[in-house]
């Protein structure tokens, strides 16, 4: 798990979500529980991959600044926070301690 140790929730991928890499510019996330699809660009895919083992907002922002030249300083934390909230709301991500994970998913994680 990647975290800065600050008091931010840690975001985790919902292991039931299927990621289909479309091309170098992004991917498609499919949540079979809600039958919803989310198209993500390279930045979104980067964030998604950080959440595989868990990551909090500060670590994500730091990673984005390091990996993307165009990342702007001031607005990024709020933008990422909004983006994460949307992914959580639609069941693509969970928050540590508050994951909505099925028994099959837990089994598969093991």
């Amino acid at each position: 798990m990647e975290t800065t140790g600050e008091n931010h929730p840690v975001y985790l991928q919902n292991p039931d979500v299927v990621v289909r890499e479309v091309d170098e510019d992004g991917a498609l996330l499919f949540n079979p529980d809600t039958n919803s699809i989310r198209v993500v660009n390279r930045t979104g895919l980067f964030i998604w991959e950080l959440c595989e083992k868990g990551s909090d907002l500060s670590a994500m922002v730091a990673g984005l600044k390091k990996s993307f030249d165009q990342a702007t300083e001031d607005e990024m934390p709020e933008q990422v926070k909004t983006y994460l909230a949307e992914l959580v709301q639609n069941g693509f991500l969970g928050q540590e301690g508050n994951e909505v994970l099925s028994s099959e998913s837990e089994e598969r994680k093991r």
Binding site: D16, V17, V18, V19, R20, F30, P32, D33, N35, S102, E104, R108
Partner: protein
């Protein structure tokens, strides 16, 4: 219960693992009757474990309260896209004429599913013995059972059914009659009767062909003048009971491989037959054998390649069952409505 050539439970588990690994999102279980397999829910759970959703096509006869309860276990209900039940008539006499001894059980199953809030669709397959019953069928489904909608199709000649075309398929005159009845029902039940094929779709397409020919204005919803009648090969393949992979159930003679021994991803990306099926959209109708001199070629799309292949042996032909020139010769055309 499974026929000797059906894949075993373990083999289906392997199939679903392969599909899941490829990022497949939806699986549709059909038959025969899929519910007859005693391992049905094991297969559903395998689909769920491999991060897919599923749909079921059924004759509806096997649904009981006990079966409903099983569907409510785990994520079986949550991951269910829909259950499609076949109802071909308003009474046993009509429905059972082509689906023997099944009407009462099918309707009981339908009502049970409806009462328990299942995502339901009903398909009415039209044939020579149920056109006159369609109004009563619509009343049963939409008013009595209370479904929001149903869809229609028509029986078509395929496989062993090719020898029974006279008793199973609509003649052009019966199609015209079906179009007339459906038009009346659509006026009575706006937005509640749909179709992806069959008389309802033909009526709309034939009318648009007439309109385009008369005005020069072609619709934007579909492409006229080329073999564009099918988009299935861009979004799905069928896996038969024994693992054989085919482009779709209508193109069941075109074997692409076997799901257990061949790489489905490679088949999807590179199989010459699938590539050829996808390229048929670029073939102008006026170059299609049998359609060269047809005055409607510029306005036609050749319809289903599966039936074209079944009836002519070549999927790059037009489906003779949906030929508007033939329809006009037999009925006088859509204006006869």
């Amino acid at each position: 219960m499974a026929a000797l050539s059906d894949l075993s439970t373990a083999q289906w588990h392997e199939v679903f693992e392969r599909l899941g690994a490829l990022g497949i999102m939806d699986a549709t279980l059909t038959g025969g009757e899929a519910l007859i397999r005693t391992d049905f829910f094991e297969l559903v759970d395998s689909i769920i474990a491999n991060r897919m959703r599923y749909s079921l096509l059924s004759n509806g006869t096997l649904f009981t309260q006990a079966l409903i309860d099983k569907f409510k276990t785990g994520k079986r209900f949550q991951r269910l896209n829909s259950i499609q039940i076949s109802i071909d008539g308003s009474c046993a006499k009509v429905h059972d004429s082509h689906r023997p001894h099944s009407f009462d059980r099918a309707i009981r199953g339908l009502r049970l599913l409806k009462a328990h809030g299942f995502p339901l669709t009903v398909r009415v397959t039209m044939h020579p013995d149920n056109v006159e019953d369609l109004e009563a069928t619509a009343r049963l489904l939409l008013e009595d059972v209370g479904l929001p909608s149903f869809t229609t199709n028509e029986a078509f000649p395929m496989g062993a059914g090719c020898g029974n075309e006279g008793t199973t398929c609509l003649t052009p005159m019966r199609q015209l009659e079906a179009m007339r009845v459906i038009a009346g029902l659509q006026a009575r039940y706006p937005g509640r009767i749909g179709a992806q094929a069959g008389p309802l779709v033909k009526r709309r397409m034939f009318a648009e062909m007439e309109e385009a020919r008369a005005t020069g204005n072609k619709p934007t919803r579909w492409v006229m003048g080329y073999l564009t009648g099918c988009g299935c090969v861009f979004s799905k393949v069928d896996i038969l009971h024994d693992g054989t992979v085919v482009p779709c159930h209508v193109l069941h003679r075109l074997v692409l491989g076997n799901i257990l021994t061949d790489d489905l991803g490679e088949i999807w990306r590179s199989h010459p037959t699938l590539k050829a099926l996808r390229k048929r959209r670029a073939i102008p109708m006026k170059e299609v054998p049998g359609c060269e001199g047809c005055e409607w070629a510029e306005f036609c799309n050749g319809s289903c390649p599966g039936l074209a292949h079944e009836l002519t042996g070549d999927f790059n032909r037009a489906n003779p069952e949906d030929c508007y020139r033939h329809f006009i010769e037999e009925t006088g055309g859509i204006h006869a409505l």
